[in-house]
């Protein structure tokens, strides 16, 4: 090896500094929201920001203990996005007299604690590879849960929720993670078979059917989600994840083409057979038609969002100065529009760039990862985050039909927060693994490090959590 490698540096102090900066950003947003409205005391502000700071520090300390070489940028960005989201939800609360931000803060706490548990229990992401098929099973269970009578609930036309003890949960959000684990595990084991075996068909190398069977099951699962649960957003997400994982595993564009043609087939099938998909597309194409605007479930939401963003213009109305609450679902599906209105194009661009940076850091962890499983898992998880952002921002800006995907870390909704924080925990672990000093000259390996402390049983419990 002729490469001169600099000695790895933990960079935890840099993270702390950035974390304080992130908390300042979130805190000032919170403060502005409170002071712009006529709420006399900013008690909420102090309490909520203290909790947020405490939660961020928990993760920071855990990283110092369990993953001190983790990427120092990931956590601060996440904290910034999460607290900005909280501030906006709080702002909508003030306008509407609701108390969603307290709920969101509670979910943030739960999510951060779970992320901490993941950091502590997993320590090395390679353990997860053991649970490849369990992950597939868990994915299937999670996706099917909402279909169980009495447990599942239909909200806004999509049957993707379950209700337990008064809490609404979207198990599909967690399935993003388990499916990523399955794809990563399966593809890292069978990569060579898929690449080598099979017949050549023109320029395409087709795999043997049995090598592809689990992949096809996963694909059918996503179709099933679309058909049965009427959730276009998750379907796009699962399709995307599926294609990406195969592409990263094989590096063959032909696989992307195959995947895209499967998506196209699925899409055409959905469009021709399903009313709600047709309606979505129609609402998207003819959003400004007054009839569609006024129709129930019509384009009012997207169009009001566009009006709000146009109203905000380049600089925005200032936090608390606009009227984002006129847009339906202003604190969840349309939170990007709310930001666009109040902090303007400049502010929302900053948010989008934060997302891009976060996704880039995730992919950077994948690049640096020394094992195939880690590479696949990190790129899958980072891609999931990125695709969610792109699909929801594209939907809000009417580049594509609007779907009910959550804007990561910002949109009000517990399940999404929980899932995305777990993703962050996993990305942090993988980046730690990628950046820590190598014990000897070890090349990329698929071997699993020897579990140090926790028993298999404990770890299983964590994953099922």
């Amino acid at each position: 090896m002729t490469d001169v490698q600099t000695a790895p540096v933990p960079r935890r102090n840099l993270e702390l500094l950035l974390l304080l900066l992130a908390l300042c950003v979130g805190g000032s947003a919170f403060f502005l929201v409170g002071s712009a409205s006529e709420v006399s005391d900013n008690k909420n502000f102090i309490i909520q920001m203290s909790i947020m700071t405490f939660l961020a520090l928990i993760i920071h300390v855990l990283l110092r203990i369990f993953a001190k070489y983790a990427d120092p940028v990931i956590l601060p960005i996440t904290v910034a996005l999460n607290s900005l989201g909280l501030a906006m939800i709080h702002r909508i609360d003030i306008a509407k007299g609701t108390s969603q931000s307290a709920r969101q803060l509670m979910w943030t706490a739960i999510a951060v604690v779970v992320a901490g548990i993941v950091l502590w229990a997993v320590k090395d992401h390679r353990i997860l590879r053991k649970f490849t098929y369990i992950a597939l099973l868990v994915s299937i269970v999670l996706l099917l849960l909402p279909l169980i009578p009495k447990l599942g609930v239909t909200i806004n036309g999509a049957r993707i929720w379950i209700r337990i003890a008064g809490f609404s949960l979207q198990p599909g959000e967690l399935a993003k993670i388990t499916l990523s684990i399955f794809f990563a595990g399966y593809l890292s084991s069978n990569r060579d078979l898929i690449l080598m075996a099979g017949r050549k068909f023109g320029p395409l190398q087709l795999p043997r059917m049995r090598d592809m069977a689990p992949m096809v099951i996963a694909w059918l699962l996503s179709i099933g989600v679309l058909v049965i649960q009427r959730d276009l957003g998750s379907a796009i997400l699962f399709f995307g994840l599926f294609i990406l994982m195969i592409y990263v595993a094989t590096s063959r564009i032909s696989w992307v083409l195959i995947g895209l043609s499967m998506v196209a087939a699925g899409g055409i099938f959905a469009y021709t057979t399903m009313d709600h998909v047709q309606r979505r597309v129609n609402v998207w194409l003819n959003a400004f038609d007054p009839e569609i605007y006024q129709a129930r479930g019509g384009s009012a939401q997207i169009v009001e969002g566009l009006f709000g963003m146009a109203d905000g213009g380049l600089f925005g109305t200032g936090l608390g100065g606009g009227s984002p609450y006129r847009v339906p679902l202003a604190n969840s599906d349309m939170i990007i529009a709310s930001f666009g209105e109040e902090i303007g194009l400049i502010g929302v661009t900053a948010i989008v760039l934060l997302f891009l940076l976060l996704v880039s850091r995730g992919l950077r962890a994948a690049l640096g990862s020394r094992d195939t499983f880690g590479k696949l898992l990190a790129s899958g998880l980072a891609f999931t985050l990125g695709l969610q952002c792109v699909v929801i921002i594209g939907g809000v800006t009417r580049l594509i039909p609007l779907t009910g995907l959550a804007t990561p870390f910002m949109a009000a909704g517990g399940s999404s927060l929980l899932a995305n924080w777990i993703i962050i925990a996993l990305l942090l672990l993988i980046s730690h693994n990628a950046r820590r000093p190598m014990a000897g000259a070890v090349g990329p390996t698929d071997e699993i490090a020897t579990p140090k402390s926790s028993t298999l049983k404990e770890r299983l419990a964590v994953i099922k959590h």
Partner: protein, 488 residues
């Protein structure tokens, strides 16, 4: 694999950049279009949360924003005496839009007019809410009430206009049927829609049209003021020229006969001077006169009187029409007595009276007295402005003389008020016949008083009434208005 991951990064970055492009398009490049979209109610919502300036009559608000705690907006628009002013103020409504003065004066009332820039800046720095300016109308509240009271049946399609010929100021403008503008200004969109439906069912009423400036109807013989001006201007007739006045005259180029009114006094003379013709409103002489004037003559004179011209008072006045292209001689003869395609607004006939009263000069009709900033500073006070020279002072003087006849001894005798020298011309335009043969007409009377120093021009229009009701009521309303103006 790393190569693939890098490509994924490139692909995601491209997608993110496309998203940024979409955001830039909406928030910057296309923002103005979106802000102007008809579905966009944001500006309106914003306005509804701010105190809007009042519309004042005699210093008292007829439309004002009062604080409300209905939970939706901070202010509710409230109209005082809405039936009196409905056609002037229009309404300011979330569900039904904004109409008439509320719409035309919007920049003043909301404070977005450039003249209020200083106030807006001051509000920005002091942190106070920017307030709109108030607009005082030229309307005289007592006259407005008198005009409304003078209309005996409020379901009748009647319009009364009182203006000042010397300044163009409109002192009263009332139309019936009318409605309660408060019903349309309610914030609840469902309630507003329900009320709008109820109002739209009132016969003869449109919530979007002020009949005084928006309804085009045949002027009948009241148009003879303009025809006579044209005849005198042509030089072929003067005050003493004897003109043939047969009971019936054949319209040129046709077999259709035009007759003088049945039981009228016109039949007493087969040849008459303008004074007799004008006082008794004889029709047949105008066949000869219209031919002498010709199409161009009419096109010229009607334009000077304001036909076909854009006018804002500040509401937009529908231009009156007197088409002269491809008009045959028989059609022109009918139009000369205010029939066929000759269509005018009540305000047009009021302006006609203003022209004669003011030595041939029409002053621009106007309803805004002054605009008052929130700090009571007067920021705008429209000065009387000339609209057009309708005719020469000499011919105006002749017409003034001619218009004495109808009041003294002719068709307008029922409007006579002792001690006031009223000059007027009546008009009756046949619209259709009922099944039993009763003619349905538009009834007019337009004039000014007093003759030596005209203070007011008054116009009464009744649309679609039967002949007797029309003739009697128009005169009676005119009489009441003259009494109201001169305290008789």
């Amino acid at each position: 694999m790393n190569h693939a991951i890098k490509r994924v990064w490139v692909a995601l970055t491209v997608l993110f950049i496309i998203c940024l492009g979409g955001l830039s398009y909406i928030q910057f490049f296309n923002a103005e279009t979106l802000n102007d979209n008809a579905l966009n109610k944001r500006q309106l919502f914003r306005e509804f949360d701010l105190p809007r300036g009042a519309i004042l009559v005699d210093g008292k608000p007829i439309a004002e924003s009062v604080e409300t705690d209905d939970g939706q907006f901070n202010y509710q628009r409230k109209y005082t005496d809405p039936e009196l002013y409905a056609h002037l103020t229009g309404y300011y409504s979330l569900a039904n839009g904004t109409t008439q003065l509320e719409s035309k004066l919007n920049d003043w009332l909301t404070g977005t007019s450039s003249d209020l820039l200083y106030d807006r800046l001051a509000a920005m720095f002091t942190g106070k809410q920017a307030e709109g300016a108030s607009v005082q109308l030229t309307i005289d509240g007592k006259l407005q009430q008198a005009a409304y009271d003078a209309i005996p049946d409020k379901s009748m399609r009647a319009t009364v206009i009182v203006s000042e010929p010397k300044t163009g100021k409109i002192r009263a403008m009332v139309s019936t049927p009318t409605y309660d503008t408060n019903l349309l200004a309610v914030h609840s969109t469902t309630q507003a829609a329900k009320n709008a439906k109820k109002i739209s069912e009132i016969d003869g009423l449109s919530q979007y049209v002020n009949p005084a400036i928006g309804n085009l109807v045949a002027p009948g013989s009241s148009f003879k003021i303009i025809s006579t001006v044209a005849a005198l201007e042509s030089g072929k007739f003067n005050m003493t020229t004897p003109i043939k006045n047969p009971m019936k005259a054949t319209l040129p180029g046709t077999n259709t006969q035009l007759s003088n009114f049945g039981q009228g006094i016109c039949g007493r003379r087969s040849e008459a001077d303008l004074a007799f013709i004008f006082a008794q409103s004889c029709n047949t002489p105008f066949v000869e006169m219209s031919q002498a004037i010709g199409n161009e003559g009419f096109a010229d004179v009607t334009e000077r009187f304001g036909f076909g011209q854009q006018l804002e008072i500040p509401q937009s006045v529908t231009p009156s029409v007197f088409p002269t292209n491809d008009v045959t001689a028989d059609q022109l003869a009918q139009m000369a007595i205010g029939q066929f395609n000759n269509k005018v607004t009540p305000l047009q006939m009021n302006m006609t009276a203003m022209a004669i009263a003011n030595d041939g000069v029409i002053m621009k009709p106007n309803m805004v007295e002054k605009v008052i900033a929130p700090d009571l500073r007067v920021i705008e006070q429209p000065k009387p402005e000339k609209f057009s020279t309708a005719t020469s002072p000499e011919i105006a003087k002749d017409l003034k003389e001619l218009m004495k006849g109808p009041v003294q001894s002719g068709t307008a005798m029922n409007a006579r008020v002792p001690g006031v020298d009223l000059r007027a011309k009546t008009g009756t335009a046949q619209v259709r016949n009922l099944d039993d043969g009763t003619p349905i007409v538009n009834s007019w009377i337009t004039g000014f008083a007093p003759a030596d120093d005209p203070q007011v021009a008054i116009t009464v229009t009744l649309e679609q009434v039967d002949y007797n009701t029309g003739h009697n009521t128009a005169g009676a309303i005119m009489k009441k208005m003259v009494e109201a103006v001169f305290n008789k």
